[in-house]
């Protein structure tokens, strides 16, 4: 990737909720700062890693995108719409075929990234609501994601990167989908966790969001959460998603003006 492209940072503002929540948030941040474990990369709890995204790394594909969030590096290629495989059952509408794979060197231990089948399913679920499947009847759009380096929050980054690649391929979409996850540590919520942070989290929550339409396409939650925190975390994620989406839009517009 050339040095010309700037890394855009985005962080959800503390004004994600109403004013009342804002004050609460402020309080929490102070509490967080009192905690004796600053985040390893020097971020505050509600800071996302700098996001670097670019379209068009692979020329053979209809569309492609590269994303780098801290250590996490993902490349997504989109092929098609092309003829569905012969073994598939007949379908009037188009299909979205998603596949996530890890390079053998993506993880500290070689070939460890095994949960990619689950990720493939999750990627599909996050994107299918955003793609206008009826515009390419009976054909398939293949979305292949390759994680070059796994550095935490892999799935949200794959989702955001895949939606950028789909847009780059010119696939009709209702909206771009961006995704952000948060980890819960006791009372603290930290956004865009790294893999070290993910390994010790008490709970995690991931939101895939269509910012312009204000719709959540995918939401998963595990571990220990109290109700108030869920609302808070979802709003935090949604705000970060909107900001990430602005970066995506910028990249698409850059690519569009470059093409002329």
């Amino acid at each position: 990737m050339s040095a010309a492209a700037t890394a855009g940072t985005y962080s959800p503002a503390s004004s994600a909720g109403e004013k009342r929540r804002e004050r609460k948030e402020e309080l929490r941040r102070h509490l967080a700062e009192d905690a004796d474990w600053p985040r390893a990369d020097g971020r505050s709890f509600h800071d996302c890693r700098p996001a670097f995204m670019q379209t068009g790394p692979t020329t053979a594909a209809s569309g492609s995108a590269y994303a780098e969030f801290g250590k996490t590096k993902v490349i997504v290629s989109v092929f098609g719409p092309r003829e569905s495989k012969k073994a598939m059952l007949y379908s009037d509408t188009g299909r979205l075929n998603c596949n996530v794979s890890y390079t053998t060197f993506a993880t500290p231990i070689r070939g460890q990234g095994t949960d990619n089948k689950e990720y493939s399913a999750m990627l599909h679920k996050a994107l299918e609501g955003a793609v206008m499947l009826h515009t390419f009847p009976k054909t398939t759009v293949d979305v292949f994601a390759l994680v070059l380096e796994s550095g935490g929050s892999d799935l949200p980054i794959i989702i955001s990167c895949a939606s950028l690649a789909l847009a780059d391929a010119g696939i009709m979409m209702y909206d771009l989908v961006t995704s952000v996850s948060v980890s819960c540590f006791g009372k603290n919520i930290i956004i865009d966790p790294t893999s070290d942070e993910e390994a010790w989290q008490d709970g995690s929550l991931m939101v895939a969001y269509m910012p312009a339409r204000k719709e959540i396409t995918q939401l998963t939650l595990t571990g220990e959460w109290s109700d108030g925190k869920i609302t808070n975390a979802v709003e935090l994620c949604m705000d970060a998603c909107s900001k990430l989406c602005d970066i995506l839009r910028e990249r698409l517009k850059d690519a569009s003006s470059l093409a002329e």
Partner: protein, 422 residues
């Protein structure tokens, strides 16, 4: 549905026994467990209510308890169970044959349509490595009229089998069905039937967590349940269920919020622990498999006895400790924190609980929330492609919390009854 107030009526006869005001925007949920032969309740489409029926209605009922909430059936010999009182143990189980006989066959027309769809699906399943977008169960062959009927019914709060939107089907629970396992349970939710087994084996704790045992969850969708569970389609579908269950039961990576306290499974620190294998089997599928499986796992865990282990520590610490497994003494799990899953399926503008396959085929999206006894959310999964407004999701979570409380208490009384019957 624009629910306004919530009342929790547990009515036997005319007066509600128990009522509490919760969050004001929730639905009125009248919840009654009734023992009945066929009753002429016009609103239920002459659907007789069974022993242990979970009724959650969103009717704005007044306290007089009209047809829906009123679970009084004078010709029934014994009093209906009072719950939420898990302790109030009543033998509310009936012989299976009797249950079957009073359960009328629902619309045969739909059944034949589904059968047709299944036969059509018998064709060769895809063999390639891809994620099938439509889960096999959504492929129910319905005509336009039938679809309209289902959607219209849900909009009017009267579903095709006579239930209301937030009403479960009859649930029946049996424990100890698999003698080979340490704990097992069979749960029937309408025509959906699942079996969950818990098997404990001695193993070695992982290096990363030497003070914790291991729990793994697997789900198998048997092709005997439905022809569509043949081949790869079922693999993906069961993997989806499996992931959802893991997410809801195993908690965060640090172990917080897990349904089972992993440190209770340790025998010797860093050396010996119990490996718990939780297996779910779908015997018959008519929608809402996730809720049924989670319920079955909860019941199976409460049925599980882990053999008591005597460890004779040898002098040198390097040696493998000698482990003596008792076959007489068993330890019971603390299952109080095992959550149940409540899936809210959105059809049109409304959402329903405990959807049948036909209803699931009409869903735009579904949110499965796992809630424990204390009303804490332990996991959440969304299915279906359509996007949801955040406020709708929050609304669904609070409804799921409310529904789960009643679901748990029904399950508790069923567990006690099942144990008593054993």
């Amino acid at each position: 549905m624009e629910p306004n107030n919530e009342q929790f009526t547990n009515s036997i006869g005319d007066a509600p026994l128990h009522r509490c005001q919760h969050s004001p925007h929730l639905a009125t949920a009248a919840f009654s467990s009734s023992v009945a032969a066929a009753s002429g309740d016009p609103r239920c489409g002459a659907q007789p209510r069974l022993d242990g029926t979970v009724r959650l209605s969103t009717d704005r009922l007044d306290a007089s308890g009209d047809g829906v909430a009123g679970g009084s059936f004078p010709h029934c010999g014994r009093p209906p169970p009072l719950w939420p009182h898990p302790g109030g143990l009543l033998p509310n189980r009936r012989p299976l044959a009797l249950r079957r006989s009073i359960f009328p066959c629902p619309r045969p027309r739909l059944a034949s349509a589904r059968e047709f769809a299944r036969r059509r699906l018998r064709r060769s399943p895809s063999r390639e490595q891809r994620y099938a977008p439509a889960a096999p169960r959504t492929m129910v062959g319905l005509s336009e009229g039938e679809k309209h009927f289902i959607r219209g019914g849900i909009a009017q709060d009267l579903r095709t089998d006579g239930r209301r939107r937030l009403q479960f089907r009859a649930i029946s629970v049996e424990t100890g069905v698999i003698p080979q396992a340490n704990g097992s349970a069979r749960v029937r939710l309408g025509a959906t039937e699942v079996i969950a087994t818990v098997k404990a084996e001695l193993g070695k704790p992982s290096i990363l967590h030497p003070d914790k045992g291991k729990v793994s969850i697997f789900v198998d969708c048997s092709p005997t349940a439905a022809p569509m569970f043949e081949g790869r389609g079922s693999e993906e579908f069961s993997a989806e269920l499996c992931v959802a269950l893991q997410r809801c039961l195993l908690g965060g990576k640090s172990g917080a919020g897990a349904a089972i306290d992993l440190s209770s499974l340790i025998v010797v620190d860093g050396k010996v622990c119990w490996d718990l294998y939780i297996d779910g089997l779908v015997v018959s599928s008519d929608g809402n498999l996730l809720d049924a499986l989670a319920a079955a796992i909860k019941v199976a865990l409460s049925d599980t006895g882990i053999p008591k282990v005597n460890v004779s520590l040898s002098a040198t610490t390097d040696e493998e400790p000698e482990v003596n497994v008792s076959d007489e003494e068993f330890l019971q799990f603390d299952t109080s924190s095992v959550p149940v899953i409540v899936t809210l399926t959105k059809v049109g503008k409304h959402y329903i609980v405990d959807a049948t396959s036909e209803e699931e085929s009409q869903m735009s999206s579904a949110v499965s929330v796992s809630v424990n006894r204390h009303g804490q959310i332990r996991g959440l999964t969304k299915r279906g492609g359509a996007g949801l407004d955040p406020s709708v999701i929050f609304d669904m979570i609070s409804v799921a919390k409310h529904v789960s409380r009643q679901f748990i208490s029904v399950l508790d009384s069923e567990i006690l009854a099942a144990e008593a019957a054993e």
